[in-house]
Amino acid sequence: MGKKILLKGNEAMCEAAVQAGCRFFAGYPITPQNEVPEYMSKRMPQVDGVFVQAESEIAAINMVFGASASGARCMTSSSSPGISLKQEGISYITSAELPCLIANVQRGGPGLGNIRASQADYFQAVKGGGHGDYRLIVLAPASVQEIYNLTMNAFDWADYYRNPVMILGDGISGQMAEPVEILPYEPIVDLPAKDFVLDGCAGRKPRVVKTLYLRPTDALVTHNEHLQEKYKRIESELSLYEEYETANAEIVIAAYGITARIAKGAIRLARKKGIAVGLIRPITLWPFPSDPFAAAAETVGQMLVVEMSHGQFIEDVKLAVDSACPVEFLGKGGGWYPTEEIILEKIESMAAAVAKRGM
């Protein structure tokens, strides 16, 4: 194991991006992700990359639109309200199939809300906050090291699938500092040639990057079918999750990101009390790892969804579980953090209920 250094999640994301060859960053300040533009403003010039502090989040996402069409590995970053402003641009980027990384360091909402961590932008990221049928590859890291590793992968998947990737983090994982091993970048897929790049039409036919499909009348339908085929392919190829003590579990907790860390703490407490609890932690939120949930649902008595929102992630869990077992919920929005104790309580009440029925 190589030497480790102490980094905040936001900083680790930046350094991983630089290591992975990201050479264009455009963003607009917003707490709790300010370390990102600040780090990039310093780091990009060092690697002959470009840092632009945009006049707005909308300008930033559209600068990324242009940078990606120019062939650069590029990214933008913001937090909840700023990500809402990027929705039109995100819809355009998915249609144009331009690879890029978009980071959402989630904070409390709705509205200006507050700057505590939150997971209430799940629907926006996973179902689509923009218009039209599109998908983002959505990653939910739970540690600073994982932020570092997934950020590197994100650029590969973005290029490989020609699709934007979103890192759905939160104010805690972005702000907390942990030891990180700065692994050198190694592509994890064969990267396709970027034959869509606009670099002047020297010695080739002119290229067009566009999202308008007028003629023939069904041109846009055809384009959507093409996108849907790609999405199906991604769903079949990409699905990451972690299982923790699910083997003999009677109750399985479903949680992602920082919430899963707290859940693990609760599970340790519950195990001490002799309650067999496990955890399934999706790492890719889209594609959603349905199989482990479907499988677990067959064996365990109940599931418990814990999320820092009033119930968004739970819909995908329910669709995956397909009514094979009851799904309980523990969650709130607005910057609420679950504690190990609260989760434990919930687990105990679930266990007790079962015991009763058992009699």
Binding site: L6, T31, I172, M176, A177, E178, I262, R268, E340
Partner: protein, 186 residues
């Protein structure tokens, strides 16, 4: 101290360099190849007020990054003592900057380190090092981290900025170690 995991909270006024203390402890932990999570609980998109930081140090994988009930508390001003004393784990430890805290802990189960940090800083001639003075006292009376790794962490942190800062902070560190006392719970 469950599965040799230690949860620490550091609290004081905005200007007192709370975050730096957390940073020094966390870096020292990394130097000792321990697992560590450091967090700053920033209250709001705004300045001033009281600040606090938390550090969790462990031999094993750290799950929960939050510190609800700290095992140890480094408290640099009165309001923070009022706020955090009740949360400290039973039989835990509290370090108090007596220059800014007029009262003793009410709880009798807590070990208590006392250091007149702000006054000492005054003598050293740099009010801003009161935080490192507290660290010196803290390390002196706990076996959590070695003074060496703290010194290295300080060197790592300041050498880049300005070597002089390393000097004065090391001076502060040792001043704190010497001019502090630890009262075991009565």
């Amino acid at each position: 101290m469950d599965r040799n995991e230690t949860k620490i909270i550091i609290a004081g006024f905005g200007g007192q360099g709370i975050v730096l203390i957390g940073n020094v402890l966390a870096r020292a932990a990394v130097i000792e190849n321990k697992n560590v999570v450091g967090m700053v609980s920033y209250g709001a998109e705004m300045r001033g007020g009281t600040a606090n930081a938390t550090v969790v140090i462990s031999e094993d994988e750290i799950f929960n990054p939050f510190v609800a009930c700290p095992d140890m508390a480094i408290i640099l001003n009165g309001p923070s003592l009022d706020r955090f004393e009740p949360q400290i784990e039973k039989a835990g430890l509290v370090l108090m900057n007596t220059s800014m805290i007029q009262r003793d802990p009410v709880r009798t189960d807590l070990a208590c380190i006392k250091v007149d940090a702000t006054r000492i800083a005054h003598e050293i001639g740099n009010l801003r090092v009161a935080n490192i003075i507290s660290v010196g006292a803290f390390i002196e009376h706990t076996s959590l981290l070695s003074m060496d790794s703290i010194e290295q962490a300080i060197a790592d942190l300041f050498s880049s900025k300005n070597p002089k800062l390393v000097e004065v902070n090391l001076k502060a560190l040792h001043a704190g170690a010497e001019q502090s006392q630890c009262l075991q719970p009565v």
